[in-house]
């Protein structure tokens, strides 16, 4: 188990190397550049800019320079936010997006699994129909509709929650609306997923055995059904986690949350090479670690899986 774990962590290095190399060249193939504007910059200024950011050097030399920096976890200066290094942008935004993401995903997982259990046990009764309808709404209503509606109801009409901004300005209450909004589609998907897999396990032979042994229905569900039924949910949580913690431009725009999602998306539009690269690296690291954690949880849940 420990050896497996170490091997998986070490495999992060070649994976990252490939990801960084590919993205470095791919971005530069894309037309445009960080200093391309609607109005042309005078030639002399452009030359100076290129020189300042070492973009006048041959591409391969730039690549080596970048790799040397990245080993020291130095992402370089942002080409667009002139006063900031990419490290500063990440250090400011990522913790915000991380905490918002973790809170939302926890809400989504707890709520989704609970609703999934209820609707599976009450299949085709009113509780199930309500849960399924809520899930369909959750999946189909976009965040930029859900967010403003919640702002209108809880911020403007009831005046019990701040409409936007983050903990530093509005206190801990500021987390509630963005977290709930962001969690909703995840909640809905997890509810559907757990409902389906609980229903499948409920029909299995070993559940019939458990009932034939005279166990109470509650024991059957908690002890015999859930462990197996939650495996697909765990599988889903890995990629969902890495997607949610790198921020959401919609949530950050609607609620003015100073997260990392907006800078990341804009970096792509601005051809802010260093920031794009940082996004790629951060996202890859989180995704790889999240998948590793999922595999470890899998091994704990399912005794048939063993890691060597």
């Amino acid at each position: 188990m420990a050896r497996y774990f170490i091997r998986r962590v070490l495999s992060l290095i070649p994976t990252l190397f490939i990801v960084i190399t590919l993205s470095f060249f791919l971005i530069r193939i894309a037309p445009g550049g960080p200093f391309a504007r609607e109005r042309d910059v005078p030639e002399a200024i452009l030359q100076n800019l290129m020189k300042r950011y070492h973009m006048d050097e041959p591409l391969f030399k730039q690549y080596l320079r970048y790799m040397k920096d990245i080993i020291r976890w130095d992402f370089g200066p942002s080409y667009r936010y002139r006063d900031l290094t990419v490290n500063e942008i990440i250090d400011r935004g990522l913790p915000v997006s991380m905490s918002l993401g973790v809170i939302s995903l926890t809400l989504a997982a707890v709520g989704g699994i609970a609703v999934g259990i209820i609707s599976a046990l009450k299949q085709n009764r009113w509780q199930d129909y309500v849960a399924v309808s809520v899930a369909v709404i959750g999946i189909s209503v976009p965040l930029f509709v859900m967010g403003p509606v919640l702002q209108l109801v809880f911020g403007m009409k009831l005046k019990i929650l701040p409409i936007g901004q983050w903990i530093s300005t509005n206190g801990i209450k500021a987390v509630i609306l963005p977290a709930v909004t962001l969690s909703f589609p995840y909640f809905a998907y997890i509810a559907r997923l757990s409902r389906a897999s609980i229903l499948e396990v409920l029909r299995s032979d070993y559940i019939r055995t458990a009932r034939a042994k005279g166990l109470k229905e509650s024991v059957v569900v908690w002890k015999h059904v859930l462990k197996g039924a939650l495996l697909p949910v765990v599988t889903y949580l890995g990629p969902a986690f890495s997607g949610i913690v790198v921020g959401s431009i919609v949530i950050e725009s609607v609620f003015l949350v100073p997260g990392i999602g907006r800078p990341f998306v804009q970096s792509a539009l601005n051809r802010d090479y260093t920031l794009i690269m940082a996004e790629v690296v951060v996202y890859s690291v989180i995704l790889i670690i999240a998948n590793l954690v999922v595999d470890v949880i899998y091994g704990l849940l399912d005794p048939r899986i063993s890691y060597k």
């Binding site: 070993y206 055995t209 042994k213 166990l215 109470k216 002890k223 197996g228």
Partner: protein, 330 residues
Amino acid sequence: MSDEVILQVKDLKTYFTVDEGVVKAVDGVSFDLHKGETLGIVGESGSGKSVTNLSIINLISTPPGKIAGGEVLFHGKDLLKMPPHEIREIRGNKISMIFQDPMTSLNPFLRISTQMVETIVLHQKIDKKAAKEKAIEMLKLAGIPAPEKRIDQYPHQFSGGMRQRVMIAMGLSCNPEILIADEPTSALDVTIQAQILELMRELTRKLGTAVILITHSLGVVAGMCDTICVMYAGRIVERGRTEEIFESPRHPYTQGLIRSVPRLDQETKERLYSIPGQPPNVIDLPDCCPFYPRCERAMDICKKKYPPVVSFENNQSASCWLYGKEAQNV
């Protein structure tokens, strides 16, 4: 086997409502089970054997299933009318079940010890430690080598035959009065089949457990059972003591079943006999003998009305119009 009847199934009817209509999986089944008796229920797939036995301990999933009528009297009390908490005290305790596929019948996520101990603790009201000792003792009886080590393993670490031994050990761990074995050997290979059957016979004799053995194999019932019920399309078409059924089968279906067993002791160049046709679809079956389309001796009346039960000597009985004269006399 004594004369004391411990389980009486009376006119049991279990129907399933599906889009195409009502499936009468079990349609008026009655039989008695005596203390220590081994009763075989034989029939093709879909004849209602398994549904009958799931109905006995009220484990039919509703919907789509529904027990539409009848009584299951266990020591005189109707299991079908019992509130859930009372029947739960009987399941796994007084009446336990083992199933066809040992590969899927144990929970793959829980240790054997967890699965056995929970049953024993639940029904015997003893602490976990004592229950584990009891479980180890049962595994030993069931022929599991090194049970004190193997009990803490997971089902996937056991072979199919070993898992069925675990199921038997678990099924018998609370000294049930009745063990219902639903095709316990159908998923195992032949050498293991014989071992498992021998184990069941030995243990149930030792503990005085009555057995309802569901199977499609006449070979299995011949070796194991005191009495046999032959089921076809949701009803019992013939019943009797094992020797009588094999010596003088009365129903053409039973005769066909016995003829279709390959015999090594008779030299013959004939092809192996098989009953022509397929079992009927039991959705909205008309009032006729369901076997008549496949029956070599079918008569006009067979298409019009379900035959009554005709009794013969030695408690043998069959439902067939061939014995119409006797039928009128009864």
